[in-house]
Subunit: 430 residues, 2 copies
């Protein structure tokens, strides 16, 4: 949208649904983003903020006047505030809490006791529940009230409030009024503990065949539910986090973050990588005398490092996915290492020969071919080794392998590559 | 599971559900995988195969005797065969088709006319449909039959079979028998065209608030539905494809593929990267004389290449995500380029100074600091430029930027980095 044509902007804005508006705002540069934001009807602003990614949303939050918040918060519920809380200054979180009723405030406090990687943080209280003794009649009464989206069943709880049984709505429909719901309960359902990892629990919901799974506390008391739409959002966020982490970024990263902020957030990653690059350089520096005498080694250095890096990142990617999916376990680690070392050995030999021949011909010196071939083989095998062990070790240390795995791996393959290549060169070529 | 203890294996196997079995098989080395496979009850084998990832499944398919297939196919439907078809030899696809009834065969043929990136390939025919004139009574009759999972509404079609309206089941429940369903239809629903991209359509389902969206052909005729569980599977596959593509792999890649097969599939990617590495080496070779005189340049080369590569991959990752989410459009491309160039310029200046100082001190030569500083600045800016333009260009050419983006980017940053660094070195240091 062009600036100045405010009426046109308003029309475009009014026609879009919440998710489209959130996407539109994310894809606009700062100035235009604020213009469109101003033309959104006040009663829609909160839901649009909730639907946006963290960093892009913060720009809008910062530009909103103190007095406007009261109006925006008039209708806020616990789930919305949980989604926004990280982007809001503490003062605004407090005023949102004051605007809520007692129950929503309690929901917010309960959820805040869980980390945002636990399902207790994201559960919904909008759930159809009846006592274990309820009949079809009770269910029908419940269904005549407003039923939340993605509801395909009623949860039955015992007197202690513990989850007991599940009944499908479609089994209730058409059944005689006096039949106890328990008699219609045919299926087993997976129960999610509130402290469970939110990606694992969400994947479970997606595969369960139910539109929502019950979430319980340690004593099996029903706290709420995780529905499949929320689960899908959480899974998508998990994948986005992995994709962004591979480049040292956050999944909240804003396409149009202010230049200074964006530069600062990326500088950290560049700095970490710089340290590893200097480390590699330092190792190369050990062979200055060799490089001076055999310049071909300097020319070919990138080939050795690159082949190790690529081979290692293939293994690394496969293992990181395996860890995330639960394919990689204590029981198959050793077999996996053997397999990856075999693949690395085979590819190492093949490419050592190819590269050795090319280098021999290029520099008219068969010995250079032998040196680079050996270095390639050693580096590809080392890469396979590192590609398996680094993510497994990081995972054990509770560090996200998607984030730090590739830096560590590249450091290993660079150093092994340069030292093997230049070391063998010093030994055999001088 | 240890070999030899077949009874124990059978017990473990019988206790697991389909998805768990599929995961277990994927995470086992070849030999053990075949042992577990043999102990799975015959009537469960087909559904387990369907739930597995492509490559891991092929091992099992190859080991299954010709005569066993008849039993496995006795109950196969179109959706299962569509999922398996790519892993099956043509002869087996034909014999599965012969085992189906006429309708399922037709479903399979219809779906096969769409590419597997189109929603027409994946739609389900298991859908509650009634004519536009139907009453609550008709709906209740329909609901007493078996209702597919993730069904929260009935689709109403007109006489031409075109999709017309949607009614929520919860609005039908409790309504008087003679009320026309149209009168209960309150909501708009998004309609998906069969030729639409399957990731886009699946994301739409996840956000729709419905458990399934109607899928129609060009003339709006209702073909079936896309439910949220299938949509989530498709979205998860999309993300996995992106993650694996960044290392030149397939999302079907098997953790325990046979060594030869695995080595072969990865060799292609190593080969492509080798070509780009040799290209970079060739450019370095142009400066052999310089390298011989100033060995410090050889020592510092990896720093220049690495900083460019990292900065570029950050921009690239952000743009690839933006393209996938629809954040990057024709309208904001220019603004995005300006912003990324600004971020690159700012980080370029900062790191040029830092690296310049370190290099000056290390080699006791301020001129080396100036040379590497300039090269770093040029390379980080070039990286930002390439990071924006490469994925956008690939996307226009319908090439997956997640797969080839990073190779092309690294080629650019390597060559720009080496040429700038060694070129400036030749000019100023000799």
């Amino acid at each position: 949208p062009e600036q100045g044509d405010a009426a046109a902007v308003s029309n475009i804005v009014a026609a879009r649904d919440t998710d489209e508006l959130a996407l539109l705002l994310e894809s606009l540069p700062q100035e235009q983003r604020l213009n469109v934001w101003d033309s959104i009807a006040r009663h829609r602003k909160l839901e649009v903020l909730v639907a946006m990614r963290g960093d892009a949303r913060e720009v809008l939050i910062d530009s909103t006047e103190q007095q406007e918040w009261e109006g925006l918060f008039s209708d806020i519920d616990a789930e919305q505030l949980l989604e926004l809380a990280d982007s809001l200054p503490n003062k605004l979180v407090d005023s949102a809490l004051r605007a809520m009723d007692k129950q929503q405030r309690q929901f917010f406090r309960d959820a805040s006791q869980f980390g945002d990687d636990q399902i207790g943080h994201w559960l919904s209280h909008d759930v159809l529940v009846l006592p274990l003794s309820a009949k079809v009649r009770d269910a029908m009464r419940l269904l005549r009230r407003e039923v939340p989206e993605h509801t395909d069943s009623i949860f039955l709880i015992n007197r202690a409030g513990q989850f007991a049984e599940v009944v499908r709505l479609t089994d209730v429909i058409g059944a005689p009024e006096h039949v106890p719901l328990v008699d219609l309960s045919e299926e087993e359902i997976d129960i999610v503990k509130a402290e469970e990892d939110c990606t694992k629990a969400s994947l479970l919901v997606q595969k369960s065949g139910f539109s929502a799974l019950p979430v319980v506390d340690e004593s099996n008391k029903l706290l709420g539910r995780l529905d499949i739409a929320t689960a899908s959002e959480l899974v998508n966020e998990f994948y986005e986090r992995q994709l962004m982490a591979s480049a040292g970024m956050d999944e909240e990263e804003d396409l149009f973050a202010p230049v200074k902020k964006s530069a600062r957030s990326r500088a950290v990653w560049l700095g970490i990588n710089l340290l590893t690059a200097f480390l590699a350089s330092w190792f190369i520096g050990l062979f200055e005398a060799t490089l001076q005498q055999v310049v071909a080694l300097a020319v070919l250095m990138p080939v050795v490092a690159s082949m190790g890096g690529i081979a290692g990142s293939q293994t690394l990617t496969l293992i990181i996915r395996g860890l995330a999916l639960g394919q990689v376990t204590g029981g198959n680690r050793r077999a996996l290492l053997v397999k990856e070392l075999s693949v690395g050995g085979l590819n190492g030999v093949v490419w050592a020969i190819v590269i050795g021949i090319v280098a021999s011909v290029w520099f008219s010196d068969p010995l250079i071919g032998v040196v680079i071939g050996m270095a390639i083989l050693m580096n590809i095998v080392a890469a396979a080794f590192a590609g398996v062990l680094i993510p497994i070790a990081l995972d054990k240390l509770k560090i996200d392998p998607a984030l730090s795995g590739s830096v560590i791996l590249t450091t290993v393959t660079d150093i092994v590559g340069f030292v093997a290549f230049l070391g063998l060169g010093t030994w055999w070529l001088l």
